[in-house]
Symmetry: C2
Subunit: 458 residues, 2 copies
């Protein structure tokens, strides 16, 4: 067991001597095994460990028992321990997420915070081989490219996964052999319904009906996909280094990424695809809401004439400018025609830190939003197809549905200004602000928007 | 429907004007739709069609009904038609296959034969989008690389798949709208148990429990995998063109393929993998029995010193010779030590066409085998680990098991010579010949082997 894990750690260079490692410890078998094994390898690898347990404020006594066990185990092993309590249910409500999703968000936030407090260099989590097969299927069924088919990587940013080379059965056998106990269910409870169905229904059925070694076979295909993905990324990067051009603002942030169209045109479709994705990422960070269709429509501009452009999510456009293809941020004025633009209200923006308990203005022309939740560039505009907002309770509604519910006459709907973050609407001016962007106790930074002499003030 | 299919045909260049096309017609909905649609597009695409129905000699009256219907439909459409009768159950027994596998083998043999008779250029088969999702999962669960994840290609050799862009539901709706009938079950009966379980149990469950669009998502990931695979093949081919060396025999057949080790060492692992696979294919055609482990052990020779070698299946070796890595056929003498080699019997080989009903010699020293079934190079040698043979009834047995059953004393087992095709043994000399290689009514070419003064004649 040590041997397998140590080989895996070395082959994938998970740690360097002197690493200070936060170990995510739920108290379930997987994380207990992770802590025990890392503790045994501590000297060999030259690591400092700290165990962090997150109490989600769910599952009452059972969760208390898990926390206590995690603490006791750490003490026995002589590993420093901290337990952090959160309210996952509340966070879920406030952010329009499922409780499981909220739990995951909170855990990684806490691990990262604890890492900084500990002057830590790595966060070790207990995902194992069976989790990997499950992740690959989850991605495949819900839509993914090669990257998702590759599953979880051994290293991502600060996060390392030393157990990816061992299966759940080996973990249980190891703990049994060592006589180490663990808390039942504490890990399962943290995964969502769909993952549980894949794990406990679909994967066993595949093993039973199709192939007993299906788990390993899925991992092997995933490994090939991950290698292919890494190679294609490298090729795409090489092309952008050779044929790319970029614009940056004063702060050095990339505001537009271009590439020589003829050079890209000569490449295979899959490379065009990877290069365009990389261009979008260099301007926007997040690939959220970017679909294959968007990438293909941008690639089609390689065949088009200068000046042609297509809209992408998050306020981006792809545009052909002479011999180059560019990914840029849409200019605010460009997106509405001039006559309509003059009727759009002017807004004053102000950004400042939020102090807990600070009173939030309650009037129709001054609104506060959680600045950190904004993903794309803000735009003030009329509604567009696909616009949606988050309502109380966390559900999503299209702006069209909202306007119908509000009984706004059809001919008026096009005249109501709104503030949007990509297609996610923060504020239908005069009507409603989105739950998602509201100030909560977790808000760090506020963006204040104030109506300023527009015609449609509500 | 026509539009979708025509677009797909054009985008993938399935046909050229003047193509003469064999249409595989089972009588089920999919193939009926294929024939009707191709017939409608005949003039637009400039095609000549001929429908071929294979009667498997199974399912009694139901199969007769299917054949009759296929014939009537072709007549109505004015498409030439032929029905070929085979005995799939017999073929399965004789070749140690499942009946479904035998049916598939026979169908493609017949389509190919009919194509030649028709001076045909293409064979059109009715696989559709749902078959594709099923194929991708089938490959993923049973073990595959990117190629298998890509599923079926629109074109492979002479075979084209015009319906890959439409789903089963669209096919049924189309036939209902046109008032065209079809035979129930005739296609399902041709697929095997495992595929049926994926289609009727696992895929519906994935749609229900994980994602309603899982089918499309799987196809999308498959498309990415296929594109990546094609790109990696191209890169590997480029490397072999630049850095490859080869040896050929008088007939121009490649007998050994080498590559500059330093050049290959500089490449990513996935490229090393693709190059080595391509080298094996160039010497051996078939990649059967070649696993990831074989490829990796060959790749490991890039780090080794000159003279190091590893055995591969099908009588191949990978060997490091100074600055080059080679894939070669093992030399017969090389594989057994000298003292033992002298005791191996000499065999005379003779190859000639088989005339149906020709009498097969029935003695211990002259044996006939179906020459076309031999995949690797033949070798006369003693048994090796992994050797197996096919027995009456179609089962496989290791040579070790066979020898135990025959009550051959342990110390004798190493001394019995055999003739082998890779690890598949044709003849345990003095004991038994493998069912798989026996002469049948389908045999085209015979290889005769005659014992000639060896010491161990049986």
């Amino acid at each position: 067991m040590y041997r397998t894990i140590l080989d895996y750690i070395r082959r994938n260079r998970l740690f360097s001597p002197g690493d200070r490692v936060i170990v995510a410890l739920s108290g379930g078998a997987d994380s207990v095994c992770l802590l025990v094994v890392l503790n045994e390898l501590r000297e060999v690898l030259g690591l400092e460990l700290k165990a962090v347990h997150v109490h989600h404020g769910l599952r009452g006594k059972e969760a208390d028992r898990d926390s206590e066990y995690a603490g006791r185990l750490s003490e026995t092993l002589g590993v420093p321990f901290v337990c952090v309590r959160v309210d996952a249910a509340l966070y879920a409500r406030e952010h329009g997420m499922s409780v499981e999703e909220a739990g995951r968000h909170l855990r990684y936030q806490i691990f990262e915070k604890e890492r900084l407090d500990f002057s830590g260099t790595k966060i070790a989590v207990a995902h194992h081989r069976d989790d990997q097969a499950e992740t690959i299927l989850y991605n495949l069924f819900r839509g993914t490219g090669l990257k998702g088919l590759g599953g979880m990587r051994p290293v991502r940013d600060n996060i390392v996964r030393p157990l990816l080379s061992v299966g759940r059965e080996e973990i249980l056998a190891y703990l049994a052999e060592k006589g180490i106990s663990y808390c039942e269910d504490s890990t399962n409870a943290q995964t969502d319904y769909v993952r549980n169905r894949i794990r406990s229904l679909i994967l066993p059925e595949i093993r039973e009906e199709v192939n007993r070694r299906a788990g390993e076979n899925i991992l092997h295909a995933g490994e090939m996909a991950a290698q292919a993905d890494a190679y294609l990324e490298k090729q795409a990067d090489g092309i952008l280094k050779a044929w790319g051009v970029r614009e940056t603002d004063e702060a050095g942030t990339i505001t537009a990424q271009g590439v020589d169209a003829k050079a890209l045109l000569a490449e295979d479709d899959i490379i065009k695809n990877y290069v365009i994705r990389m261009m979008i990422r260099s301007v926007n960070e997040s690939m959220k809401d970017i679909t294959m269709t968007h990438v293909e429509s941008a690639a089609a501009l390689l065949f088009g004439s200068s000046g042609r452009q297509v809209d992408l999510p998050c306020g981006l456009i792809a545009v052909r400018i002479f011999d180059e293809l560019w990914i840029k941020r849409k200019k605010q004025e460009g997106s509405v025609d001039k006559e309509r633009a003059v009727s759009l209200p002017e807004l004053d923006f102000k950004i400042f830190p939020y102090k807990k308990g600070q009173e939030i203005p309650k009037n129709g022309y001054t609104k506060w939003f959680d600045y950190d939740k904004i993903k794309c560039a803000l735009s003030v505009r009329y509604r567009e197809t696909g616009d949606y907002m988050t309502l109380a309770g966390g559900g999503r509604k299209t702006v069209k549905e909202f306007m119908i519910n509000e009984k706004i006459p059809k001919e008026e709907r096009e005249k109501i200004p709104l503030v949007a973050d990509g297609s996610h609407v923060l504020w239908v001016i005069g009507y409603r602000i989105s739950e998602y962007y509201k100030i909560t106790d977790d808000t760090h930074t506020v963006i204040q928007m104030q109506l300023n002499g527009g015609k449609n003030n509500g």
